[in-house]
Amino acid sequence: MRQLLTWSLFFSTVRLATPLVLAALGGLYSERAGVINIALEGLLLAGAFTAASVTFYAGSPWVGLIAAMAAGALVAYIIALACIRFKADQVVTGTGINILFLGLPAVLSGALFLSSGATPQIPKEHLLPELSRLLPFMPAWRIFTDVSVISLLALVVVLATRYVLYRTPFGLRLRSVGENPEAADAAGVKVNFLRYVGVILSGALAGIGGAYLSIGQSSLFTRNMSAGRGFIALAALIFGKWRPVQTMLACLLFGFADAVTIQLQGVPISIVGLIQVGIGIVFLFVVWLILHQLSLTKGSRLLEFLAAIVVSFVVWRVFLLATRVYFESLTIPPVEIPVQFIQMIPYLVTIIVLAGFIGQSRAPKALGIPYQKEK
């Protein structure tokens, strides 16, 4: 167990979570404005395909990135047109877009590159760079600079979203449009215009996420390469209660589960270690619950959680020291955990969280309801 929790696992988590974060934040803008965005999957695919083909022709990942943003925004505009202008059902429209972009990129790449659903390989120097390529003078920090530029961008976007959403007039209006469009309209906010903006922003962000998939993480576009990430991003968004930082943490959880799955493939695990980690998690939960009940931190959830981590970690170490003799006397051979069970964890966690065992997740009130200006 010990050898698993390394920096490489952490960075693997970051890498895998990056497209999720971008897509989920995209969804956040759209859903905060009151439009359900189930089409994140399709938007990711649109971005990924555009980025790969444009980069292949232009030879620059930055052109590809911008093209992917534009493509995402364009597709999102179509969604917005259908959902806002024609008041189409938002879930159904999103499903249509998802199915459309299962086929369209494959058809186009078949036509452009005479292949069956994949774009040609892009040389490594034309891919979106890691930080280490931009900061060649910091070899000692190699492990930290191995992160992609887009991962850093995703972090910046999270913080920017947090600021924009809660500290600017635009953010306030966006939220008001999602919560109570009638009141917002009465206050002079252009409801449908803001909804267009929200949906188009969501497309642009998901487009970046898609670009990261095709020209960051890998070097070509393949059919259905997003493989359900759009849906997971959606789940992370709800898990994160439609708030930027929490959503990012939820994405990191999903990314972590993915990273662990990859690392655990075929590696035997000591049952004792697993039990110990399980006890640690129980400690964390109990300590957090106690702190929450005492409410020492005057409402700051983050502080509460950090304190819980520190306290429970100390308690856990003491517990391990105290029970070391007992655990060492146990001789259970290490077993291989079927990958499928680890794969399931994030989805099960989402279901449990959504069921409200950990805290009710409240959607923007007007989510999914087209706005009809009163006559």
Binding site: I36, F86, K87, V92, G96, N98, G103, M344, I351, L354
Partner: protein, 467 residues
Amino acid sequence: MKSCPTCHRTFEDTLTYCLVDGAVLSAPFDQAKSGPDSSATAVLPKGEPEPTLKAFSPEPPPISTIPAAINQAAGPPGEPPKSSPPPPPEPGQQSDTRIMSFFRELLFPLLAVLAAFIACGVVVFLIGDSPFQTYKLLIGSAFSWPDGIGYTLFNATPLIFTGLAVAVAFRCGLLNIGAEGQLYVAAFVTGWVGIKLGGVFIKTPAGDIVSSPIANLPAIVLIPVCCVAAIVAGAIWGGIPGLLKAKFGSHEVINTIMLNFVGVALVGYFTQYHFKVPGDAIMQTAEIGRQANIPTLGRFIPGLPERIPLNFAFILAILACVLVYIFLWKTKWGYEIRATGANPSAAEYGGISIRKQIILAMSISGGLAGMVAINEVLGYRHRYYDGFSANYGFVGIAVALLGRNHPAGVFLAAILFAVLLRGGIFVDAYTVHVSKDIVDMLQGIVILFVAAGGSMVVKRFRAVKKA
């Protein structure tokens, strides 16, 4: 706004006692405590005019949508269920004859399909192929006897089941994106029952037995048992999101998507570790007992060769269409499901338990999706095979939408999509640039047109919104 302390329903201020259980209402509407019920009652289908005072209320948030819902519900208190004639009732247009309304129902999806074909044709033309030749291959390939028609009907079978599954959920105002997971779980369970009760030993090449049967039933017992297993497994997997929605108010769209992943992973685990023939490189279980195979129609229809896998599941699919129609429009349960979908608050006011309907509709939906297993496992592959589904669950959404959530429409839409699936193979082989992915594209565009154009119609069936 007042809320009932025992059942958490919300009522107007003028009431003193809960209309459901008679408890004394507590004065302030406690938003945090009113669980899934309030979310169900708080939403109303749009299109109806809303009270105008809403926009000017000084503290808008918590109360905003509820007066409208109550207003809605209070309209026809306890109005007896109008038994409506077969096609979905079209208020305000009773003057039309039924034939006219039938054609109107048919006309709109046809227009959407036509528009999608034109849009897709433009793409094909831009790519550099002839749209006419492509469409000739795409559609024309399906009508040759016996191969074209046989395979098309075989392809249509799972789509009819998933289309019906999505349609039933839709009628209750729910979107079941989880048909894919439901049919995977059902297919595995069917395979499991077929192995365990069909007298199959799973042996390693070395001769060790890794899994032994429980019983060796004759065909007349085993086939019905397998069918029931498929339906029950699908119903359970579909019922879980229904239960979660009814009990906790968590959104069925997310839960069904999550359960897709969980279901596929779970089934993959059992296949890989317990029911694979050891040494087999393909992720599939051992073959089910011989007697569990259902015969192909080729044995009974002259001229239809037996190699075409069209089997009795197709007959079952037609039967399912009829049964779903009877269930939804001729029974009390079906009426309650449709009432819940059309206007949950009014339905609840009329004494229908929304929670029960949600669980029921999702279970039936899952059961129908599970019936795909009868076609695939009992009728075709005779084993569970990982990744057998060609997105049947998702295409089912398109089928249901295009078929206007009506069994007859679902049947026709499934045939159309099966034609496209069959034609896609020929498009792949005989055109220069266009690949069979054009089928996905067409489906996507059809859904978009149906959604954007028919929103007014679809809207009525999507009344239960985001929780």
